[in-house]
Amino acid sequence: GRLNGLELYNFKSYKGTVKFGLGTSDFTSIIGPNGSGKSNMMDAISFVLGVRSSHLRSNALKDLIYRDRISSLDKENQIPENEQKEVDNNIENDNSETIKAYVKAFYTKNSENTPTVFERDIRSNGDSVYKIDGKQVNFKNYSKVLENENILIKARNFLVFQGDVENIASQSSQQLTRLLEEIS
């Protein structure tokens, strides 16, 4: 399959809606000055695939929502969100919660012509909701569909976060076994 494009809404340093396509490019580079938002873009892609927020340089899902400024008051009011909510959210859709931020990934499977839309929202209550082509699914089914595409979130064998590359070579022999166990 191929990643065709992305749409971010209020994700980290991206205010409002930001959309872009990858066109037919097989090798795409993201460039820009320090602090411009390059790693935040990688965080957006990792987030929509289901990677936990602790790998995205933040303590809670709320940190991933665009913020104009952080006043110290804001800091105290934050409820430490329950990470666990990320994984066992159930299907019933309580429409009462507004979507504070989301990321959509447009991905075309090898056998198809139209892209599948993977989406992950952050709601005002701190929950995270997964959708495929607009229909809400639970995390387990979401990651199953990704696994069919060889997108292995647990192994993360296709993501290298900033500053991590050397660690791949210096990981312990046990860690290497665990990685291989994930992909087998």
Binding site: F27, L159, V165
Partner: protein
């Protein structure tokens, strides 16, 4: 369980040396001699998933195989070889790599960029964040990220490079 593990391990073991050689050989010399050598070995043949896996890599013209003797740049190249070898077992559709070239000198950036360019056409899509023009000038397209100060927000511009030679 043991079957699956062994299958994945043997795949990575077969590929690691070829990939490491390709990442380290000097593109100007066509001699097969070029490139270093790398290997993966099981600590316990009988119950492999309970023990560890050792990774050794020796850069071209060097003599040590332990990872502790590698320099920063040498370790980066060895790490990328391992990543690509392990990934090739269940080839993911795309890679996202954030400033993997930070510790590399210009000749190693060149080698990695060539490898990515070549395999992006054959295997997976590559999305690479880089500050070095030796890396990004080889890509098919650029995503320029900048800060729009009046909005206090990040914005993107895309540029298709395929039209340029």
């Amino acid at each position: 369980r043991r079957e699956l593990f062994i299958k994945a391990f043997e795949h990575a073991q077969e590929h690691i040396d070829v990939i490491y050689k390709e990442l380290t050989k000097d593109p100007h010399y066509n001699v097969a001699l070029g490139g270093g050598s790398a290997s993966l070995t099981l600590e316990d043949e009988d119950e492999p998933y309970l023990a560890g896996i050792r990774y050794h890599a020796t850069p071209p013209l060097k003599r040590f195989k332990e990872m502790q003797y590698l320099s920063g740049g040498e370790k980066t190249v060895a790490a990328l070889a391992l990543l690509f070898a392990i990934n090739s077992y269940q080839q993911s559709p795309f890679f996202i790599l954030d400033e993997i070239d930070a510790a590399l000198d210009i000749s190693n950036v060149e080698k990695i960029a060539r490898y990515i360019k070549k395999y992006s056409k054959i295997n997976s899509q590559f999305i690479v964040i880089s500050l070095k023009n030796t890396m990004f000038e080889k890509s098919d397209a650029l995503i320029g990220v900048f800060r729009q100060q009046n909005l206090n927000s990040s914005r993107v511009l895309t540029l298709d490079l395929s039209g340029y030679s």
